[in-house]
């Protein structure tokens, strides 16, 4: 019986239970409130619906808490109970071995039970399913009991003087807070796990070797000098910004100062669409169109230099994938990050400054160059920082078009690799979770996170100060 319970689809049951409880709580509260009304008597402080919501709230919260406890603690509890029952023979196992044994038991149970030839394993799995089933049964019973108690409690409160509306308002506020808290908790959780795994990595590989080492060879041998990755990331982001900064800024100036309202209405969304193109599309565009073109021109330059006698061998590497190809395409991708925000800040420069400059006899371009741009500069810088941070974190384009070899080279036609590319490489394919190889991905992730965070924070602060100045 308990084994069958173990197979119950808990997710559906929990949801169904909660829906039923809420619906019945609502109608119970409302009907009770309305009965008072029909009986005549005093005026109600809150309308019938609010009493309904109030009762539903009380029916909802206790089972929700139980469900939360279940999600968090059911599995560890079941496994804990199981391991305390295990026979003598298991006590010789090391804790790591025991852990992985229990893990496979849980997996087998999740698949619906074990029917293979290992009798011991089958027995253990069966027992686990029993324990698990009892837990589920207990949880469902507890939820039901909680819901009923809650509804009973709340139902007694329904009366003309009861301020159900205020209670419901407070409940709604708490619910909204909870949603915000989930987002924050997720961020904190991710950062904490990044930190934790990185610390484990740095326990094995010295911090300075990682940051300043120049040899990266995580796949085959244990060389974790990440400098070439930082270099590659920096180089490609730089190329991208050489494209995006001028193009983005000049289009922003055109849009905000020269374009008519009509043109602006069409061109700005079009530009912003660049940011909406899936990066994988940019990636294969970079790989199939730009990279071959870069290679061809590099080869052309090489033979030209040789013919001139300026060089007696190839000067440029002319690889099939290259930093230049990835950087150029990434530059196009981040143009809207620069243009859109810059356009906003240029627009936010008050017209009174433009009028002032025109009235002094300044021409349009003098006004833009000497008054508008200096006034908007902080915001423009912020837009550039956001673009850089986007470029540093970009993955797909570089995975496809930048290459895999970690090295430091200023030749833009050579292939480079970046932090993001290596994280992908480290975590795809066969990986054991504990090896320094896998852990190094967390360390790289941490670096990436810290760098982009710093850029974003500076950008936000700058924009904030800029807003304060003109509002």
């Amino acid at each position: 019986m308990a084994q069958e319970l173990g197979q119950l689809p808990m997710g559906w049951l929990l949801t169904a239970l909660i829906v039923i409880v809420v619906a019945s709580g609502f109608s119970i509260g409302r009907i009770r409130a309305e009965r008072y009304l029909i009986a005549g008597g005093q005026k109600f402080h809150s309308r019938g619906n609010y009493h309904g919501y109030y009762v539903a709230m009380w029916g909802f919260i206790p089972p929700l808490l139980v469900a939360g406890l279940y999600v968090l603690f059911a599995k560890p509890t079941a496994l804990g109970l199981l391991s305390s029952e295990l026979p003598e023979a298991f006590h010789t196992l090391s804790s790591a071995e025991l852990q992985s044994y229990l893990e496979s038991v849980a997996n087998a149970a999740a698949m619906g039970g074990y029917s293979g030839s290992d009798l011991v394993f089958a027995t253990v799995t069966g027992r686990y399913l029993e324990l698990w089933g009892s837990l589920k049964g207990a949880t469902l019973a507890l939820m039901l009991a909680g819901a009923v108690t809650g509804i009973m409690y709340a139902r007694r409160k329904v009366s003309p003087a009861f301020r159900a509306r205020l209670r419901v308002e407070r409940g709604a506020e708490a619910f909204l807070f909870l949603c915000a808290a989930i987002a924050i908790a997720t961020t904190v959780g991710i950062v904490a796990s990044l930190l934790y795994e990185s610390l484990r990595f740095f326990a094995e590989v010295p911090f300075t070797d990682f940051l300043f080492g120049t040899r990266w060879n995580a796949q085959t041998s244990a060389e974790f000098g990440a400098l070439p990755l930082f270099f590659g990331t920096f180089m490609i982001a730089l190329i991208a910004m050489l494209v995006a900064a001028p193009v983005g800024l000049f289009s922003a100036i055109y849009l905000s100062e020269y374009a008519s309202v009509r043109t602006r209405r069409y061109v700005k969304p079009l530009l912003e669409m660049l940011a909406g193109i899936p990066t994988v599309v940019y990636g294969f565009f970079a790989l199939l169109v730009i990279a071959p073109a870069v290679r061809a021109s590099a080869l052309g330059i090489n033979s030209f230099l040789i013919e001139l006698g300026a060089a007696n061998g190839p000067v440029l590497a002319a690889q099939p994938t290259s930093a230049l190809a990835a950087g150029l395409v990434m530059g196009v991708m981040v143009i809207p990050f620069v243009s859109s925000l810059s356009d906003d800040v240029i627009n936010a420069v008050p017209d009174s400054l433009r009028d002032g400059a025109f009235a002094m006899g300044a021409t349009k371009s003098e006004t833009i160059k000497q008054i508008i741009l200096p006034a908007a500069l902080p915001g423009i810088v912020a837009s550039m920082l956001l673009a850089v941070s986007r470029a540093i974190g970009e993955t797909m384009i570089v995975v496809m078009a930048a290459g895999q070899r970690a090295r430091i080279s200023f030749d833009p036609s050579t292939d480079l690799t970046t932090i993001t590319v290596q994280i992908v490489a480290l975590l795809t394919g066969e990986t054991e979770f504990d090896s320094p190889k896998t852990l190094s991905a967390f360390a790289l992730g941490l670096v990436l996170f810290v760098v982009t965070l710093i850029f974003n924070l500076i950008a936000l602060r700058v924009v904030q100060r800029y807003r304060d100045k003109y509002e």
Binding site: L353, D355, G356, A359, M360, G361, P374
Partner: protein
């Protein structure tokens, strides 16, 4: 304050304090349309040199719009169209061969809200002389900055902090900075659009004193919604209503014996 005649800074004419009785600016049948909607109707108005002309009237009657015709600032507004003739030194400034950029260096403007550039006090003043190439070296520029600030009565207050941003000054100081900025390009005419409406009474009094001082050298046109101000600072007054010029004349005459009923009603506060 430096009040001696200085040909490098002054408008034309000697500083004898007497209003000149020939019109510096002569407007004939000026109309303005915003996207086809007429805001100013056939205004003909002479503006005399070395005197202050006040434009008064209820808000929305086209005072600012008319004022902006005098330095072609309406060119910068999408959909605005100006017709009619405005003669300045015998030339119609509305004709197509006039470069508005050059015109604006001869006709300075001060706005309702002080709008110093986000630059230092020094650079605010130096901006105009620099873009118009009025100076050859730093010394000359320093001299212009000092003189303009003196003229605007601001020198004593800011001479030790010329490097600080113009926006760090108080509202009244900022407005005097804007006047100094306009003076620095040696204009002949200065337009002011309600220059005191965002200032407190003390700062207003200072600006009014300043206007009275500047009148000796320049031709000044001021828009104001305060009739007391018009009476205090101007020699000539023009009353606008619904885009029409209703009446104009010597300020004394307008305020004591207006010819038109509407002018009288407005001045005595019966509407507006």
């Amino acid at each position: 304050m430096d009040t001696t005649y200085d040909p490098a800074l002054a408008g034309e004419g000697a500083d004898d304090g007497q209003p000149l009785l020939y019109p510096r600016i002569d407007c004939r049948d000026v109309s303005v349309f915003y996207s086809g909607k007429q805001a100013v109707f056939d205004v003909s108005l002479p503006v005399f040199d070395r005197s202050v002309t006040a434009l008064i009237g209820p808000s929305g009657c086209g005072k600012s719009t008319f004022l902006r015709c005098l330095n072609r600032m309406n060119d910068t507004i999408d959909g605005a169209k100006v017709t009619g003739e405005i003669f300045m030194d015998g030339e119609n400034i509305n004709s197509s061969h006039i470069d508005p950029v050059l015109l604006r260096s001869r006709v300075g403007m001060v706005f309702q809200k002080p709008n110093p550039f986000p630059k230092s006090i020094y650079d605010n003043i130096a901006y105009g002389p620099r873009i118009h190439g009025l100076v050859d070296d730093r010394q000359e520029l320093d001299a212009i900055v000092e003189k303009s600030l003196r003229r605007a009565g601001l020198w004593e207050e800011v001479k030790d902090r010329l490097g600080q941003p113009g926006t760090s000054l108080s509202g009244g100081q900022q407005q005097r900075l804007c006047i100094a900025r306009a003076i620095a390009v040696r204009p002949e005419v200065i337009l002011m659009d309600e220059p005191c409406s965002s200032l407190d009474p003390i700062a207003t009094a200072r600006i009014e004193e300043l206007i009275d001082e500047l009148r000796k050298r320049y031709c000044i046109v001021i828009v104001t919604h305060s009739m007391q101000q018009a009476a205090r600072v101007s020699q000539r007054t023009a009353f606008f209503h619904l885009g029409h010029l209703v009446e104009m004349g010597d300020t004394d005459q307008i305020f004591t014996s207006p010819r038109e009923r509407r002018t009288e009603d407005y001045i005595t506060g019966r509407f507006g």
